[in-house]
């Protein structure tokens, strides 16, 4: 495939993935915080078309699970009480795109709840939580990358364009930040800030903290661009008309940094989503009851969950297609800009 097509196909894939998560309200059958204490840790249920008497039904249905006789954690299907799925039904409220209230869901049930990916300790539907959790985690990653790139661009342009003591100071600071172990910095930054805050505050805190950790590398790259562009004659010419520094930065230098910033974005977003997951997994990120991919995995820290409830691991897999998409996009972008080299500095692992 020629590069432009590759780029487009990765972009399409990513947009589709993000679309699925953005449509969490529609695709998820239930509200992510709705509890059902009677049904904790139910394993994933199967959807059937053929019932126990080998009759074919045109409408998919499922059997609710019932505890097996004499056991307290083994379930079996209750073949007497089939419940059909309904499509395009009204269910729990959710904010479409964050602010428009809507009640339409792709599918759902009347009566017993269907747990396609099982339920957690409080009987909450894992599928719904994964979809909604994705919104939180992805948003944290995207916003965090935004903060980092903004900081990096600002600092890089200042250092590269003005030079002098500003450059020295900022690049020393960048070295310091680059030298610190990424994860340590993240934890320390987060943990030294107030631990008990509201979910929204916690989320914003996570975004800001993540954003402030990674500015050094983009800053260096932007600085390089600024250094080379400011020597170009068209910048000199513009100064010859009496252009101010801010004009030059805005209209000549900033556009040249676009390709660098884009590539960095493709590399940083998944790293930052992972950072949010790590923080939340360890209890330093998004708190209950808000769902995020990280805190959905937190229960795995208990031995009992590890042993008996394997479906609690599924949220971890949710990020894999996104990583794939972003990795593909990043390498397609690098190929297009001609800077294709496997640079250990642009590798995936955070440290």
């Amino acid at each position: 495939m020629t590069p432009p097509r590759k780029l487009t196909s990765w972009l399409i894939a990513l947009v589709a993935l993000h679309g699925i998560v953005a449509g969490a309200g529609f695709l998820a059958p239930y509200d992510p915080v709705e509890q059902d204490r009677d049904h904790p840790y139910l394993p994933p249920m199967r959807v059937h078309l053929m019932d126990a008497q080998h009759h074919f039904h045109s409408r998919p249905f499922f059997y609710p699970l019932r505890l097996r006789e004499g056991s307290f954690d083994q379930y079996q299907e209750d073949t007497a009480a089939a419940v059909s799925l309904r499509f395009f039904m009204r269910g729990a409220d959710y904010p479409l795109l964050g602010f428009v209230p809507c009640r339409w869901h792709l599918f759902g049930t009347d009566g017993a709840r269907i747990y396609l990916l099982g339920s957690d300790a409080y009987g909450r539907d894992q599928l719904s939580r994964i979809l909604f959790g994705g919104q939180v985690s992805l948003l944290a990653g995207l916003l965090g990358a935004g903060v980092t790139l903004f900081l990096g661009a600002l600092i890089g342009m200042t250092a590269g364009y003005y030079g002098g003591w500003r450059d020295d100071l900022l690049m020393r600071a960048a070295e310091l930040f680059l030298a610190l172990p990424w994860l340590y910095l993240l934890f320390a930054l987060r943990a030294f800030l107030p631990l008990t805050v509201s979910p929204l505050e916690a989320f914003l805190l996570v975004v800001v903290v993540i954003g402030m950790v990674g500015w050094a590398r983009p800053a260096r790259l932007v600085r390089g661009v600024a250094l080379s562009v400011k020597e170009r004659d068209f910048v000199r010419a513009a100064r010859g008309f009496g252009a101010s520094d801010s004009y030059l930065l805005r209209r000549h230098i900033l556009p040249e940094t676009a390709s660098v910033l884009l590539t960095q974005a493709a590399i940083l977003v998944p790293q930052f989503v992972l950072a949010e997951m790590t923080l939340s997994f360890l209890g330093l990120g998004v708190p209950e009851p808000m769902a995020s991919w990280g805190n959905l995995l937190a229960s795995l820290q208990q031995y009992s969950v590890l042993v008996s409830y394997w479906w609690m691991y599924v949220p971890a897999l949710a990020i894999v297609p996104f990583f794939l998409g972003y990795l593909g996009l990043a390498s397609a972008l690098q190929q297009r800009s001609g800077a294709y080299k496997i640079d250990e500095k642009s590798s995936w692992s955070p440290t």
Partner: protein, 268 residues
């Protein structure tokens, strides 16, 4: 009648350790010259002789270490940034390589409108109209006006650079090797354009080149530069026929197309 531009003992040293701008790192070692209005002075010299550094200083894009530059009777070196900004429209620069002096992503119209945009005095329509007028002046047809720079030929790009330099109606235009990167036939076209513009608009040129033939074609006076100083200057005819200095002779000998007389032969 005072000359339009007078340079007196201009010295420019680049401080050790601080990187000098690429390609323009030659120092100036006491340069003096003067250009009467509506004439062309050609500054000839080898690479590294300091020509471009002089051009940048005159256009107020570099700060000389010492010496003075008098433009229309004003000492520009002593001006502060705001005052310089008022003066800038009157002295413009055309660079050698249009690939780097024009932002390749912009269209021709945007390039020539930029000076007006930066000056901030005109509405969008005014900018567009004025830009189109100048583009027409340099011979770029209205069809090419919305083409991007990287879609234009070398000659067209340089015309564009000239149009941009003319936009603010300067009195002095410094052309730093402006024709050197062009093909011979294109050079001829553009140099004729320059001569036309000079007579119709009353421009003064400082034409920097390493090519004596071009200098001969365009200049009223020639100054020869070597290692940061002017070694010889005078009317063009005189320099060509009887060069006084070795440096001049060496340059003449190296230039194809200039008729070589007895006195131009260099003793090796």
């Amino acid at each position: 009648m005072q000359p339009l531009l007078r340079v007196e003992n201009l010295v420019k040293h680049y401080a050790a350790g601080r990187p000098a701008p690429k390609d323009k790192s030659a120092a100036l070692d006491g340069v003096s010259l003067s250009i009467p209005a509506r004439t062309t002075l050609a500054l000839v010299g080898e690479s590294g002789s300091g020509k471009s550094t002089l051009a940048l200083c005159i256009a107020c894009l570099e700060h000389p270490t010492s010496g003075s530059i008098w433009f229309e009777g004003i000492d520009v070196v002593a001006l502060d940034e705001n005052q310089k900004r008022l003066l800038r429209p009157r002295i413009q620069l055309v660079f050698q390589d249009p690939a780097s002096s024009l932002n390749p992503r912009w269209t021709a119209l945007e390039i020539v409108s930029e000076p007006f945009f930066v000056q901030g005095r005109f509405s969008k329509q005014e900018r567009s109209d004025k830009a189109c007028t100048w583009l027409d002046h340099v011979g770029i047809s209205p069809k090419m006006v919305s083409r991007r720079v990287d879609e234009l030929s070398g000659g067209q790009k340089q015309r564009l650079a000239i149009a941009r330099a003319l936009a603010l109606e300067p009195r002095l235009i410094v052309l730093d090797e402006a024709l050197s990167a062009l093909d011979c036939s294109v050079q001829a076209q553009i140099s004729n354009l320059l001569l036309e513009l000079q007579s119709s608009l009353g421009l003064t040129y400082l034409f920097i080149t390493h090519d004596f033939a071009m200098a001969a074609h365009l200049a009223d006076e020639i100054a020869v530069m070597d290692h940061g100083r002017i070694v010889e200057s005078g009317p063009a005819e005189k320099i060509l026929r009887s060069p006084g200095q070795d440096a001049t002779r060496a340059l003449l000998a190296a230039t194809p197309g200039v008729p070589k007389t007895q006195s131009t032969l260099v003793n090796f």
